[in-house]
């Protein structure tokens, strides 16, 4: 059924890592302008979903589809795209653990990223966004996010504290303005004040044209980003979806009710835990 807005549509997604199936059939549809929360215990597959959407080479999609479906019904197959093509198609992943790139200033990195995302057909070697325009925009965004502009001169995530990394991810989100963003625990490792600031920042960046999937263990990040839907992942499946009140319930009471309500998924979770423990030994 055509929708009034563009959607990220995930259907029956199965994903394996090193031969081990982590996602066992995920269905999820996010429209632009919507905020969805994805919760679930550690190891349930939340981050795997983020990586699979972005196209990490170690995450093998064995079944299912991930598509961008336009308001006119046009479909673009994300799984057929390289990670950078996905970024240029308007998909963003805020990493739970961003990589450092020593020697490369955040500003120079972002200038490449912004240029490519705004000119999806750009070939390497073609002009970058004019430095003056880029700098003006960057400084304005940093000021909106209450960030010291000196931050842009630092090397990408090199020697950053956990909080600084997360703020750098938010800055990139603000500059790249994707159609769809997956924020993978953008609140982890932050103190209460920092989470509040992150929550406000994300709310300011988002809006009617951005679909956001917030992966979190806490409800605090959702304070300023009231989810249209909350999804609970267990054992590689989304087992339950609800409104914002579901996030509050999970935050207060944990996952016991979910585990007992979905014994099959709970069993899958346990099996996965055991096999990963065996692999670690």
């Amino acid at each position: 059924m055509p929708s009034a807005t563009e959607q990220l549509v995930i259907k029956g997604l199965h994903v394996s890592v090193e031969g081990q199936e982590i996602l066992k059939g995920v269905d999820l549809t996010i429209g632009r302008g919507e905020v969805h929360a994805l919760m679930g215990p550690n190891g349930s597959g939340k981050s795997t979903l983020g990586y699979a959407i972005m196209g990490h080479p170690s995450y093998e999609v064995t079944a299912g589809s991930v598509e961008l479906v336009g308001a006119d019904g046009s479909r673009r197959d994300l799984l057929a795209m390289e990670p950078d093509e996905r970024a240029r198609a308007g998909v963003f992943l805020a990493f739970q653990r961003p990589m450092s790139i020593p020697g490369v200033r955040l500003a120079d990195f972002l200038r490449h990223a912004v240029t490519n995302v705004r000119n999806p057909d750009r070939k390497e070697g073609q002009e970058l966004m004019p430095m003056r325009d880029f700098r003006n925009e960057l400084k304005a965004k940093m000021s909106e996010l209450s960030m010291d502009t000196e931050f842009a001169r630092r090397y990408v995530n090199d020697g950053f504290s956990g909080g600084e990394m997360k703020r750098a991810e938010i800055l990139q989100l603000a500059m790249l303005r994707p159609k769809f963003a997956v924020l993978d625990e953008t609140d982890s490792g932050l103190d209460a004040d920092a989470v509040r600031l992150a929550s406000e920042s994300i709310a300011r960046i988002g809006g009617a044209d951005m679909g956001i999937l917030i992966i979190t263990h806490h409800e605090q990040l959702l304070e300023h980003n009231i989810p249209l839907k909350t999804h609970v992942m267990l054992g590689g499946r989304i087992v339950e979806s609800g409104g914002p009140e579901l996030a509050q319930e999970l935050h207060k009471r944990g996952y016991e009710r979910i585990r007992s309500a979905y014994p099959e998924a709970a069993a899958a979770e346990k099996a996965l835990e055991e096999s990963s423990r065996a692999a670690a030994v």
Binding site: M131, R132, R153
Partner: protein
Amino acid sequence: MSTATVAARSAFDAAALDTILSGTAGPAWASDLRRTALERLTALGLPDRRDENWMRTDLRLFKPQAWGPRPAPAPATPPPEGLLASAILSRDLAAESYADFEAGGAAVGPGRLAGRFASLDGHVVRCELDAALAARGVVFGAADELLAAHGAALRPHWFQVIDPSCDWFAAMHAAFHAASAVLYVPPGVRIADPLHVVAGISDGGVDTSHVLVVLGEGAEATVLTETAGGGSAGGPGGFHCGGTEIVVGKGAMLRMVNLQNWNTGVWHFARQKAVVHASGRLQWTLGALGSRLSQVAQDVALVGRGGSAQVNGVMFTEGRQHLVYNTLQHHEAADCRSDLLYKGALQGRSRLVWRGMIKVDKAAQKTDGYQRNDNLMLSNDARADSIPGLEIEADDVRCTHGATSGRVDAEQIFYARARGLSADEAARLVVAGFFQQVFDRITIPQVREALARAIGGRIHRIA
């Protein structure tokens, strides 16, 4: 059974030297140095792998008989330009990097060269010096004529800084150097724009040029030297056997850049040494992008109190290139500082060897010496060897060294790709970042940009 050294024969022989001596405008004392070197050469074989400096250098495929002096190029042949000269003259570097832009780099326009010297296959094809500098006593140009005219200033240093008899290549160079250049900057004279020396060869060509740079007390200069041309691997290739001598006078300041940018069929042998006098400052950058095989000795001697030398190395190898560097930071006087940072990125089946030594004489108390070599492996088949060494006779010194070898992390590449950078762009950025630390030390922005761009252009897709 004992084996006697078999002298290595080439077309660099007595007859060839007679031809050179009959045509030279150089003074008699310089010709005598050539004759002495030839005597030494005829007694020498190629360096042996039992020699520690040569044990990681494979000379089996080097055939000395293939090489000899080459005829002058046709009159209309254009002089080689060189990567660094192009960068200085024709590039507006505006806004290539955020930090440069913030520092006012947007205003950087094309620069000037204070002097230009070019040779092709051992023949001088260009020689220019800013007239205002000549009027202030600056001497720059072809060695033969200038040694005769300025013997008092140049003779004490000409082939006195490097040892012309230490091996076959050194002796060959001392006997047969051609299209050599000298720079003499009188005391107190400061030259703002760089002087440029480029040695070019044709496919199968030969270059034996020598460079002598002498800065008088309190003088300042920037000298850029580079190589260009030669054949690629599998063809006739080329042969370079060169030398660089540098004298930094009391309180003088020299920024020196040597860029080896031959095509990948060229054999490159170079002996380079700087002597830094009291309170003199030297910033010496070696870039290496080309050649089939390189054997380079880079020595710095700190002979006067309070001298300092910063040595930078930027190496990029690919294919089957094999580059060997032997460096020496020799502290002969007290209160001197030396700081060496060599960074190499290796692709393909290439090999990079760095063997570094900090030597501190008994008199050199309060020495501050540092050496470091970082290598980034871009393929599984490349190989890098880092062999730091310290030899310390003084008791109140601080000398440290370090070496690292790493790989580009696939997770870094994925992270950059997730932000819209192509795989190649991501790889280039990661490698550029690796070199940033050494680029940050090179205070000539055009040189930095030229090296960064040249390296960036050669990086293949990683993983």
